[in-house]
Symmetry: D2
Subunit: 320 residues, 4 copies
């Protein structure tokens, strides 16, 4: 696929048409490609738990995160309602020496490791499955495809594609590097792992490793390695259930068109119904996979069932 | 164990001494009984994935929850930063027909389905492992045992003890019913399931079923069935990794002493280092277990790694 | 004016037409009736400061307020970022014995004493001055008539109309009591006070006195005394700059039509451009006015300039 | 007063002793220097309303503010619960063509124009009036001197000291410029205005003018012009009720000692009981004062009565 850099509109329209899954799971569908993740796939994934070692693929949730306020996205603000200092000094009004601490959080649902819900992106006013965006997501939230519908489903076979290690130098792809279907295929081959229907794919670019070393910089919204717009066909053809990256925005940035913003999202979410994860932390898992040569595992990455949410923070757990 | 209802202070002191795990995993420990959940246990748990069917054990996170403001605990407030109505009407300033929705949440970490972190409760100014509470939890959060330390660990063998179904009438225990070690043992026997070191136990009382039918009432903080103070020995002796209930407060309420507040918490969290879950929703899983007679399963219930948090919302996923 | 209780649509349409101020202050106007409050009015108001005694007309902002979650309106959640207990116990990392406390708040802008901005209510898709509602208030806030535009203006002559004391029994109007133009006029006459162009009128019904004594009950959204729909002409003809009440919703509730919701708002805000205050606390001031017989005063009630807000908490200060 | 730059501890101790107001208004006092603002002062202030023109002295409250997350201080996050786009597209479930918009805010109380409450700063564990800090401010807020106590009081005579215009070049003092008592006195003399008991003083340094032109930079916490530590005697001796600046931190930064943090706060708030305002916007008012040569005015700057708050956002209104 050759991109005409001056015509994102045309390229998006063609890809949307070619890779659409509208109607594939009925007109009432609220799960998109998560439909590919079935019980057989879970049985296959379960067999991958061999050693019993588990990995969190989540970044931290705190004020030291990368958010700078763009689109009113802040880092999480975590405050205490009660503390140990209070317990010791005031007794807190509790009997028999009991003390307690309690806390609250205020955060954008996209502030750190997260899933994009199906209501997160629209294409020319259409949400997933062809629904009018304005009937799906109002100020009351996503009335149709809220992330709560995915609550029980996101557990199955995970596959790490460590493109940074296989294709990059010193384990990292540079910002602006577009990961194509060829890169993904070559990485899977190098790992000796297959990718197919119902899998949850985790692509490691190495950008997180880099910003962890060098400072956040423009991690939240700036240049990054990521999926090429041309990878849309691979995303569709593999019939994967979900895909996540270690970057803020999943796709390569700057985007590959002259005047564009997240064109692959526009194809993948509303047209393909693909579940996309961002800001995951694959590094500990990737170290382990590089060491033992096994790149598939059991993965649970259940969103919080926040009613009507168009995204959710998540702590994905891989077990090998 | 016979309780002197007039002496919670004495009973707590004795139980704390008898069932203390301080120092058991070294003086730097931040995991408590989660140390029991090892790789062998995960391998054992993985073998329980037979059919590939998954269940969310989480209640909803929205304004329709049970919180009424006690201790500044509100229901989650979820608001939108961008919507589909905006996308359609204003175009949102995006190119090529892209539209987007984004959202934020403000919530107490104990508002719905959740884990209590090790810094959640103190006993006479001591936090887990004997640390001074005032050195552990300040306004900056839990500086030592924050829930982020548990991020990769909570995945293993889960066991449902459906005490409501086995001991209760019509599947429910009445409010104020104290679940003793005998009830737990009898339920396990009725299920034909074992409970032991490293397991994550889920106790269903049926209260959630009841309030779902009858309205929240005083679910958040009022009378409830729950663990008897006398079950402390069972919690300790079984060497379980964690335990959760379908109630707001884990232990029976009113508590079993004349003037007391959550005395079992005071023993279990700071002294035993036990991970406690509350407000879980076991009902769909319990139906399935009653139907197929299998009460153990693979369970992943990873807290969000909110740095310094003394609790975390969680969407626990059981797979059979 | 006689109301046809079955035809709110017709009554609203007629009142909207009759009492419209669209275009009165130019097509770019963002202030509505606040335009009536001019420098001469401020000079008149200033002359009312005779004794130098000041009154806050604000209710508290805390978790003990009346909100119960309807329309996601909670009471304010105020939490601490640093405390005195921390300062004493940990030193907080500050040098030379300095200690500090800091705090945050999360609150609906309509949770307690507040102004309704001009973008708060629409009539058949039209916002103040005839603008399309969808061009005025999006998820980014009120892009045209945000409350910040009112920031410097709300200071002038205030007039208390203590309808509760003049018309009610024991100083209180019952819930459901509709305050008509006749009641307002009679009250002003009883007080010996005039009401006219540019004044800020405060109507005391006594409901707040009652719920303060008896408990909040349904104060936030339930039955209440308040302005009759038929008072629209008085609101328009007097050319007042603003009006506030001690009730949640300004107008009488239940509303005076069979199937209606806040019909007077629909006339007063988008059509008249009237600044409306709710949940004010007039009681201390009213005591003083009853004692000295002086019912007008200098009033400052400046909204916080929250960019794009459709309302604002306010602490109105009356000085006599 | 000559400062020993190496001994903040000693200088603070001496100033605290010399300028203490502990006990001056009784042991139960919760108002500090606001006690100086009496009815006579208000009558004096009212006489300054001559033209009837009003000025807001507040900066904006939005995501474009200067906060960068230091000490978990973010800019205000304002989100909508309902919008005009929704009203037009969905009808929102309201009858007779009514539409509505509603909003919420989450913000640190020190994020923009604000008052520091008396519980905001401690000196060696002592809060205002000599109270133990740990008994005053816990996680539940300021239990004694919460800002709600000041709700009705902050209205009186305001005086602008435009030190930037009088002492600075082009109307601005450079960052790091320490404003001494001599500068304040010289400025008052240049203006021909007196400063005395019960006044609310507004010091303009010009820094806000500069950052408004050049970008925020390190406005929130970085170098700034401001009050010299040596001005403590002036603050005490004048018996002013309150003082505010157009800077983030009131006092000069870097502070005048080698290793120090806000030493003047440590004297002024807990020892003197002085009400301090920060991040005010004096520029429109200062233009007017420069034009008409009148530097005193009626000022209302009432904090929101947030129960237990150690600070409050405020929209101060000056009227001349």
């Amino acid at each position: 696929m050759t991109l005409d850099r001056t015509d994102p509109e045309g390229a998006i329209a063609e890809a949307a048409r070619t890779y659409s899954n509208w109607g594939r799971w009925g007109e009432d569908d609220v799960l998109g490609t998560l439909n590919f993740l079935d019980e057989a796939k879970r049985r296959q994934g379960a067999a991958l738990i061999r050693r019993g070692v588990s990995f969190s693929l989540s970044q931290s949730f705190d004020m030291n995160g990368p958010q700078k306020g763009w689109r009113r996205r802040t880092n999480p603000v975590h405050t205490m309602l009660d503390t140990g200092t209070d317990a010791v000094v005031t007794g807190q009004g509790f009997p028999h020496g009991l003390g307690g601490a309690d806390d609250v959080i205020a955060m954008p649902l996209q502030c750190s490791t997260q899933w994009d819900g199906l209501g997160h992106i629209f294409d020319h006013g259409k949400a997933w499955n062809g629904r009018p965006a304005e009937r799906v997501v109002t100020s009351e939230g996503d009335l149709v495809t809220g992330i709560e519908h995915m609550a029980p489903h996101v557990a199955g076979r995970g596959v790490l594609l460590d493109v940074g290690r296989v294709i990059g130098e010193d384990g990292e792809l540079p910002d602006g590097f577009a990961v194509t279907a060829e890169h993904l295929t070559a990485t899977a081959e190098a790992h000796g792992v297959s990718v197919g229907r119902g899998d949850i794919v985790l692509v490691r670019t190495g950008q997180l490793t880099r910003v962890r070393r060098d400072g956040w910089g423009e991690y939240a919204g700036g240049p990054a390695p990521g999926l090429s717009f041309t990878a849309a066909g691979w995303l569709h053809g593999t019939e994967i259930a979900a895909i996540a990256t270690d970057t803020w925005g999943f796709e390569v940035r700057p985007n590959e068109f002259e005047h564009a913003f997240q064109p692959l999202h526009q194809v993948a979410i509303p047209n393909m119904g693909l579940l996309i994860g961002e800001m995951w932390d694959p590094d500990a898992l990737a170290e382990d996979c590089a060491a033992d040569g096994v790149h598939d595992f059991w993965l649970t990455a259940a969103p919080l069932p926040i009613t009507g949410a168009v995204g959710s923070p998540v702590n994905p757990i891989a077990v090998k």
